[in-house]
Amino acid sequence: MTKMHVKMTVNGEAAEGLAEPRTLLIHFLRETLKIKGPHIGCETTHCGACTVDLNGKSVKSCTVFVGQANGAEITTVEGLVNADGSLGVIQEMFREHHGLQCGFCTPGMITRAHRLLQENPMPTEEEVRFGMAGNLCRCTGYQNIVKAIMAAAETLNAQKEAAE
């Protein structure tokens, strides 16, 4: 099958590669660009393990053709670490509050939480539970994920206030 030339910005860096037009974004990220944070859990948009940020929106990259992401700005969980390589606030709060167990849903969860807190920097618990409902976790029962995201919101808001 003829391949197309795809270019995108991933985690702030230019990336490109050849891919069949039918290639799914998740496979392009994982197998061509070797960005393996996003995982494949269902391939039907249900589980959210493959969640990435595409042009400022959370998408399930298992049901996006790579062509649809041509020229896009993409952020994955790898792009959420601090410049010095330390864990970003949301990542740190997931660790602090035991918001993960097997870790398979975690990259999608954290990437979705990142976008949720951009959309709604001060969510209620109910808003977090609703806003995260596109990401399934089989291990934690969500209680500590919700706690981690609420704590991250608080920390991020405090940081923002301190900076202002």
Binding site: T44, Q101, G103, Y142
Partner: protein, 806 residues
């Protein structure tokens, strides 16, 4: 060093040993996407395998034409049973003493069964190849009901073993009959039933479901033809057992097979078994000389890999008119699908279903289980459970409720008067177990008080009045459960899988500077072993947990063990860890005594050091001892500081818990809302409270799923109706309630650190608790039993059947 100024408590806190809610060391990798799961493995020249699967539940395979598939660009091979037959690999042994087709050998027995394996240069080409393989099928009559499967004229499913009189577990009486397993005293139980004041009888069905870990099953097989060594990475909950089985069925010597379980994205029992994908990947790698990756998709995972439950449990429970239980009788029909591929210890073909007397002092009991073949996927694994304990707990906790209805008694009180008393432990159960320890009354009273049980019942009475007066359309249910598990399989004298004894192991090596590495025969799938096992070692030998690396899952480096399932890691490998650490401590004592120039008996262990008895200012820290162990010539003592322990547990452990939940049910929509859930767990000694709490949250959510909507459902044709996450219920953060956790601590008397295991308790106790709550809401309207899952449609139907819509 400030060792002399710190109090023992401060020094202990610095170790982050047992009892500390130490943050998980795994999370630094996982939170930034740096895990290493099987699909993350990419080797040079790696090929991809994909299955052609049967669309039919029962059919003869009359032809497989791969010609067109082989023309697809990138497709290199199409493997069928005919290709595997000369190698003797077209069938493989199951963990239950049965055998299973690797690829369809003349017929298929369930929808989704593996028919051919396409090998291609990438996953897309492999999928194209799968589409292009043409298979001719001749449909056969389908049996999805285990009772119909045992009728005299039922179609013969397993023609390969037609007309046999004896199966792996004794005599069989029908071609579709796998085994009968009997426990307890039948005559005595039936005599009690015949004489009893009250006998409550009920059929309790625990529906078929699936562990559905977020990561599906998969592997990468790589045969190095130069060295003759096969490396197999995979989602294996028992890597060492996989190596042994792979060696036995392939003929490759065990030292030439290296099995590696990398990070595993959840298991819950789904990743215990051996699947055709593993065998086909190995064969494909041997044939092509290249690494071959196979990772199933979600639909394949739900349709073809190991399901759980599917037990029809007919029960009779006898009691005096005051509610004292006098006997329990159970006959179970177990639907195993096309092959018996459950993963139970050999002597227990129905697992530990004989824990079904639960938390109660029942003088006499009888259990019989009949295993049956149907045209459904093979398995019968323990989904977050220790070998059918979930079924047993659901059965007894439903029977208690049914008995309470018959007696007109409060179900909490009925439980209380029948609990095994604290002074009866160790307790010999009527079905053959010796419960190690427990204090059920204390736990129960604490739970009832915590939720204000009397207040809840009063509120429920008021709600019922309001409902009857037309003021509300919502009913309130209170779900009660007191469960007792049996975990930590197990003593080699009665626990083995395929002849492999169920001990486990730990090897600890202290480095000269006082840090360490430990390797275990288990494998974490999210339980946090790297965090908690280091805590055991920290407390036992006095080195900080942060200085201890944990490794599992590589059969070339880790000591042999039977893996992680059945809540056995802490009870068995955790015990091995403590025992290995104690060997190190014993040697450290001799070294310390030499260094301090006193007799061995004149030093004592003090948190992180050995000190001279009566002179605590004279001591050697474990770090100093470690350095001396390697670098100082000590007469009569070998250099080095390491130990290994293979631990054969003397008994199982028996965690227990008291759960209470409150549900509000809208009778017009069938919607259920879990208003509160209180979970008290007693898992003995607590290693890491944070992780225990996380395990409880997760297990309860899996219980919520199972009780309230999750099932593997088939139609009459054997089509899987719940093959995607659209139909197969996994709760989201939106549906999942908030949980309140609590605990009591009753250590196991036979475990070196008193720990019992906790990972599966919430699933074992959670399912009956949710289910009992739904039943309880409808109790005033005459409901005694309605089968799970209690999804909105079924709950609505129950309300309708009870006349609540009139």
């Amino acid at each position: 060093m400030n060792d002399q100024t710190m109090t023992p408590e401060q020094r202990a806190a610095n170790l982050k040993g047992m009892g500390s809610s130490r943050k998980r060391v795994e999370d630094v990798r996982f939170t930034q996407g740096k895990g290493n799961y099987v699909d993350d493995i990419n080797l040079d020249g790696m090929l991809f395998g994909d299955f052609v699967r049967s669309p039919y539940a029962h059919a003869r395979v009359t032809g497989i034409d791969a010609e067109e598939a082989l023309k697809v660009p990138g497709v290199l091979a199409v493997i069928t049973a005919k290709d595997l037959e000369p190698l003797g690999l077209h069938w493989m042994p199951t963990l239950a003493g049965d055998k299973q087709m690797v690829l369809a050998d003349g017929k298929v027995l369930f929808q989704g069964q593996e028919v051919a394996f396409v090998v291609a240069t990438d996953r897309y080409a492999a999928a194209d190849g799968v589409e292009a393989v043409e298979v001719d099928y001749e449909e056969l009559p389908v049996v999805v009901d285990p009772f119909k499967a045992l009728e005299p004229d039922a179609p013969v499913l397993r023609e390969d073993i037609r007309d046999r009189a004896e199966g792996a577990h004794g005599p069989v009486r029908h071609n579709n009959h796998i085994f009968t397993w009997e426990q307890g005293d039948k005559a005595a139980t039936e005599a009690v039933l015949a004489e009893a004041d009250i006998v409550a009888e009920e059929m309790v069905y625990y529906h078929r479901t699936h562990p559905c870990p977020l990561e599906t099953c998969g592997c990468v097989a790589s045969m190095d033809k130069v060295t003759g060594k096969l490396t197999l990475w995979g989602t294996f909950q028992a890597p060492h057992a996989v190596r042994t089985v792979a060696s036995l069925i392939s003929g490759i010597a065990e030292h030439n097979i290296r099995v590696i379980s990398p990070d595993i994205g959840g298991g819950f029992g789904n990743k215990v078994g051996v699947y055709p994908g593993y065998v086909c990947s190995i064969v494909a790698s041997i044939v092509t000389g290249k690494p071959v990756k196979w990772v199933e998709d979600r639909m394949e995972n739900l349709m073809a890999t190991a399901f759980a439950r599917d037990y029809w449990m007919q029960g009779k429970i006898a009691a005096t008119k005051d509610g004292k239980i006098t006997g329990l009788w159970c006959h179970t029909t177990a639907d195993h699908g096309g092959f018996d591929a459950c993963a139970d210890p050999t002597k227990f073909p129905a697992g530990f279903m004989n824990i079904c007397t639960g938390s109660y002092d029942i003088p006499v009991a009888y259990l019989a289980v009949d295993g049956v073949y149907t045209n459904k996927a093979p398995g019968g694994v323990a989904y977050r459970c220790s070998f059918r304990v979930t079924e047993a707990a659901y059965f007894i906790e439903r029977m208690i409720e049914v008995l309470a209805i018959k007696l007109g008694m409060d179900a909490a009180e009925l439980r209380r008067i029948n609990f095994i008393k604290a002074d009866q432990f160790p307790y010999q159960s009527a079905l053959g177990w010796e419960y190690d320890s427990g204090d059920y009354h204390t736990a129960w009273d604490k739970a009832l008080k915590a939720v204000d049980y009397d207040g809840l019942r009063a509120e429920q009475v008021q709600r019922l009045e309001d409902f009857r007066a037309g003021k509300t359309r919502k009913l309130m249910g209170i779900g009660l459960t007191h469960f007792t598990e049996i975990v930590g399989a197990g003593p080699v004298k009665n626990c083995d899988i395929l002849g492999l004894g169920m001990f486990d192991s730990c090897e600890i090596r202290i480095h000269p500077t006082g840090s360490a590495i430990a390797r275990l025969g288990t494998i974490s799938q999210g339980q946090g072993h790297a965090t908690t096992f280091a805590q055991i070692i920290a407390s036992e030998i006095g080195l900080p947990a942060d200085d201890i690396t944990l490794e599992e899952g590589d059969t070339d480096t880790a000591p042999y063990g039977l893996g992680t399932y059945g809540s056995r890691s802490t009870p068995v490998a955790g015990a091995a860890t403590a025992m290995a650490a104690r060997k190190i401590r014993a040697k450290a004592q001799m070294i310390a005594a030499y260094l301090l120039e006193v007799h061995d008996d004149d030093v004592e262990f003090d948190v992180d050091r050995f000190a001279v008895k009566g002179a605590p200012e004279r001591f050697k820290t474990m770090k100093e001892i470690a350095f001396a162990a390697y670098n100082q010539a000590i007469p009569g003592i070998e250099p080095g500081l390491e130990a290994v322990s293979y631990y054969d547990p003397p008994n199982m452990t028996y965690p227990f818990g008291a759960y209470i939940c409150v549900v509000d049910i809208d009778v017009d929509t069938g919607e259920t809302e879990i208003r509160s859930f209180y979970a008290l767990d007693d898992c003995g000694t607590r290693i890491n409270p944070m992780i225990i709490e996380g395990q409880v949250h997760g297990g309860l959510t899996e219980a919520l799923a199972i009780a309230m909507g999750q099932e593997i459902a088939y139609d009459e044709m054997g089509n899987v109706k719940t093959g995607t996450l659209m139909d197969f219920f996994l709760p989201t953060s939106w549906e999942t309630p908030h949980y309140t956790t609590d605990h009591t601590t009753t250590p196991s008397p036979h475990h070196p650190i008193g720990a019992k295991g906790v990972g599966e308790s919430p699933n074992v106790g959670g399912v009956p608790c949710f289910s009992n709550a739904v039943h309880d809401a409808f109790r005033p309207f005459g409901l005694t039993q309605s089968h799970m899952p209690h999804d909105h449609w079924r709950v609505w139907k129950t309300a309708n059947r009870l006349g609540l819509h009139n």
